[in-house]
């Protein structure tokens, strides 16, 4: 360490002179490329990334792998803007950019009321239909719901339109309520209501499940309807122990059956 610095003082200062191009040839990875580990962290999402939610992570993994490829092949020349070949719009990284939730909430509410008033287009550009669907959801108005967890002392508020899928929401909730783990979800990220025994397993466990109050005032298990429909009808979220949610299952299955 000290020797590093001493070496630098002995060097021609021209090497360290700031200019727009890469200095000397020695810039970039510094002198330790031999010992350098794999390229920088690939934007892993914080807390939730390591929580094994036993959910199908396929969608997200594809995104991550694409990003890895980009980084390995074109480390210094990537331009992440307006590349039509790049993967669909990334899900929001938790805590990034570093804007306090207080302010984020304010602005999201504002944007949504403005769009309701003016019917103006959103400013963001999206390159895939999946992202477009999310944009539509966003432009129908910010959807703030209270989230409470049995046993946790504080309430939280989340804007459902900030998430694109149950996976996103699940990650965010896991982050907020650290001891919370979602139970076994099926392959579409939704509870398989047709499989009674799987559902019963989940509800008999001591794991927490998310439930929500819909527009009709009924309490339902989260995951029974397509995502967009859920965003539109959810008024309030409550995370409770699976065993307590058991009473909700029959109702949920009824609603589901009547729909099909």
């Amino acid at each position: 360490m000290a020797t590093m610095l001493a070496k630098e003082h002995g060097l021609n200062l021209k090497e360290t002179e700031l200019c727009l191009g890469l200095p000397g040839g020695g810039g970039g990875g510094g002198g330790d490329t031999a010992t350098a580990e794999t390229p920088r962290a690939t934007g892993k999402r914080g807390f939730s990334e390591t929580v094994d939610l036993k959910l199908n992570l396929q969608g997200n993994d594809t995104n991550k792998e694409d990003l890895n490829e980009n980084l390995k092949n074109v480390p210094k020349e990537k331009t992440l803007l307006k590349d039509p070949a790049k993967p669909p719009a990334k899900a929001q990284v938790v805590g990034w950019p570093p804007v306090r939730s207080y302010r984020k909430n304010m602005m999201a509410q504002k944007v949504s009321t403005e769009e309701n008033n003016n019917g103006s287009a959103t400013t963001e550009k999206t390159t895939s239909s999946a992202a477009a669907a999310a944009t539509t959801a966003a432009s129908t108005g910010g959807s703030f719901v209270k989230v409470s967890m049995d046993g946790a002392p504080y309430l939280r508020k989340v804007d459902l339109t900030m998430y694109k899928s149950y996976q996103d929401l699940s990650d965010a909730l896991a982050k907020m309520f650290s001891s919370f783990t979602m139970g076994n979800y099926g392959s579409q990220g939704m509870i398989d209501f047709m499989n009674e025994s799987k559902l019963m397993d989940l509800l008999n466990s001591s794991e927490y499940v998310p439930t929500y109050e819909d527009k009709d005032g009924d309490w339902m298990l989260v995951g029974d309807v397509p995502w967009e429909m859920f965003v539109g009808s959810c008024k309030r979220l409550r995370i409770m122990k699976g065993s307590e949610a058991i009473g909700l299952a029959p109702r949920a299955m009824e609603k589901c059956k009547s729909r099909s």
Binding site: P23, G29, D32, F47, K76, L81, P97
Partner: protein, 603 residues
């Protein structure tokens, strides 16, 4: 002074068996010195000076401890309440900070800690004369507020910044019981609102009747309606009120009435700044600018929570005197901003939304020659969004506002050239925080990393103490920081660097570093190890989603016994050994026992 008899004249009526003078008159020499010291130390107000004085020797330490009336605790877990109150016996004003800053961005589990209760009970015992309490990022309940309200008869000032866990009931208790209250400031705190079916408590009515001592009442963050009639009466009977910041449930006609009641206001938070829903269109439109003309002492304006830009011209009469303007909740474009900003020649602090665009920043640069602090917040935080501000705005500001000391700038694109220009044009910069929202984004013109820009900042801004970096950054950026950032105290890093070497440069090169927060960067155990010589001098270190392992942290814990290493992790088994979050801080006491399950404290 202690010699018996020899130099003293004989006094009449004094018996020959009079006691030696030392017993009657003078105290022992070291005690005299202490008394002198205490008298002198009363004049020392700066806590760094006091810390230095306390290190001279034991008697100086004692004397300083007895005379310190403002106590600052930068980390509530660095020292136990008991230790603090045992050493400092005569504290009248206390500041305590709790959670690390990244808690603001939901990176810390909800129930992590920073509970005020243990402090509350210790304070009630030790300092019944307590007058001021400032808390930041602490968790306090209604019971805590009740305790505060009832334990300190001389209580004058309560400031809660980014706190949570309490509700209206707690605030009402303070309002009702603290008869000498001068300052009640609730800033960016989460006040639990009641369920929809419960009645919202009318805390404004809880203030006692008669004239109040209120000088500052700030409740912008309180998310529930207030009883306006009671508020108006309160303002009318508060002749010393200088700072009033309203929440967005106060409409502009209501604001109008309040301003006419309190023309002596210097700091005003305007509430919603739009008409309430139940005002029909075509109702008699009040002359709102008359209210701003009436408040001749206004220097600071904020609020504008739901502003209709049509109402913005109402503030014209106040512009010429404004030193501080916060429009950061107002979606105002360049054309709406210009007529306002062009009158604000004295402006020193400006917070805005990026909706004003580079063009708006140009107007600021043209007029606000005295600007010291600028914050530009993002209206849209999605990474794919096109940002309305860019390197153009930054450069223009740097050219127009040469006295700039502090900048926080969110954008979607930035060039090294603009940052370098700012480093040269604004040599007084103390705080430089640039957030390029798209992660790993290089200079869009040259496709280079942003190393040179930040390098220029640390090199040219010789007074820099706080830096936040972003964009595509290699270890080279950290090499510059280690080389030139000698005064740096706070550094924020996210999604940056190539290898352990990056962090090593910083830990080895920045002797004044106190607060280091890093997320999602490839720094591992070897890098952490290189800071062993410095960790006791730091307030904290935060590293999340880096490449630290439990073993690596354990080694640090073994090497430095007065360091608390909190490893915050999910319960699941993982493929690799990397921990999720390390939050590390020096502590004089045993590890805390109020941590949730997901936190392991290594020792």
């Amino acid at each position: 002074m202690t010699h018996s008899g020899s130099s003293l004249p004989d006094l009449p009526n004094c018996t020959s068996t009079a006691a030696p003078m030392s017993e009657i008159r003078s105290p022992p020499p070291d005690r005299v010195l202490e008394i002198v010291l205490e008298n002198v130390l009363h004049f020392l107000t700066c806590r760094r000076d006091r810390n230095a004085a306390s290190l001279v020797c034991r008697s100086w330490c004692r004397a300083e401890a007895l005379t310190r009336s403002d106590l600052f605790i930068g980390n509530c877990y660095a020292v136990s309440p008991h230790r603090a109150t045992s050493r400092f016996r005569r504290v009248r004003s206390l500041t305590v900070k709790g959670k690390p800053r990244f808690a603001d961005f939901d990176l810390l589990p909800l129930n992590w800690g920073a509970h005020f209760s243990p402090w509350g009970s210790a304070l009630a015992d030790a300092y019944p004369w307590l007058e001021k309490l400032h808390l930041k990022r602490m968790s306090l309940t209604d019971d805590d507020l009740n305790l505060i309200a009832r334990s300190f008869p001389s209580f004058k000032e309560l400031v809660l910044v980014c706190c949570e866990g309490f509700g209206i009931a707690g605030i009402a208790a303070v309002a009702a019981n603290c008869r000498l209250l001068r300052v009640l400031d609730l800033v960016e705190s989460v006040v639990e609102d009641a369920d929809e079916d419960e009645e919202v408590m009318d805390w404004i009515s809880c203030f006692p009747d008669g004239e109040t001592h209120l000088e500052s009442l700030v409740f912008e963050c309180v998310e529930c309606p207030v009883n306006f009639e009671a508020l108006e009466r309160l303002v009318a009977r508060s002749p010393y009120l200088k700072k009033l910041r309203l929440n967005h449930y106060v409409s502009i006609p209501q604001l109008y009435r309040l301003m006419h009641r309190a023309p002596q206001l210097t700091h005003l938070g305007t509430g919603s700044f739009c008409a309430s829903d139940d005002v029909a269109v075509g109702d008699q439109e009040l002359d709102y600018s008359s209210a701003f003309a009436a408040c001749k002492s206004l220097v600071c304006l904020s609020g504008f929570r739901d502003i209709l830009p049509d109402y913005l011209p109402a503030i014209y009469p106040a512009c010429a005197n404004l030193t501080s303007l916060n429009l950061s909740y107002a979606d105002v474009n360049a054309d709406q901003l210009k007529p306002v900003i062009l009158q604000c020649h004295k402006l020193q602090t400006l917070w805005v939304l990026d909706s004003i665009c580079d063009e708006g920043l140009q107007a600021v640069a043209a007029t606000c020659k005295d600007l010291r602090e600028l914050r530009v917040f993002p209206g849209n935080t999605r990474e794919e969004a096109e940002g309305p501000v860019s390197e153009v705005g930054l450069e223009v500001i740097s050219q127009g506002c040469r006295k700039l000391q502090s900048i926080l700038f969110f954008c979607q694109r930035m060039t090294n050239a603009a940052v370098i220009a700012m480093s040269k044009n604004c040599p007084d910069l103390v705080v430089f925080r640039l957030c390029i929202i798209g992660r790993y984004r290089p200079d869009p013109e040259t496709h280079e990393p942003m190393d040179d820009g930040f390098g220029a900042i640390v090199m040219n801004c010789k007074k820099l103490t706080r830096l936040a970096v972003s964009g595509l950054l290699t270890d080279q950026a950290f090499r510059y920081i280690g080389m030139y950032g000698k005064l740096l105290r706070t550094l924020s890093v996210a999604f940056a660097g190539d290898s352990d070497q990056g962090l090593k440069y910083v830990l080895e090169g920045c002797p004044n570093l106190q607060k280091l927060e890093i997320r999602d960067s490839p720094f591992g155990d070897a890098a952490l190890h290189s800071g062993l010589h410095h960790f006791y001098n730091m307030r904290f270190l935060w590293m999340s989603t880096c490449k630290l392992t439990r073993q690596g942290c354990q080694e640090i814990a073994r090497a430095l016994p007065h360091l608390a290493l909190e490893v915050i992790d999910s319960q699941e088994d993982k493929a690799d050994d990397h921990i999720e979050i390390l939050y590390m801080y020096r502590s004089l006491d045993r590890p805390r026992n109020d941590a949730p399950k997901c936190v392991t404290i290594l020792q």
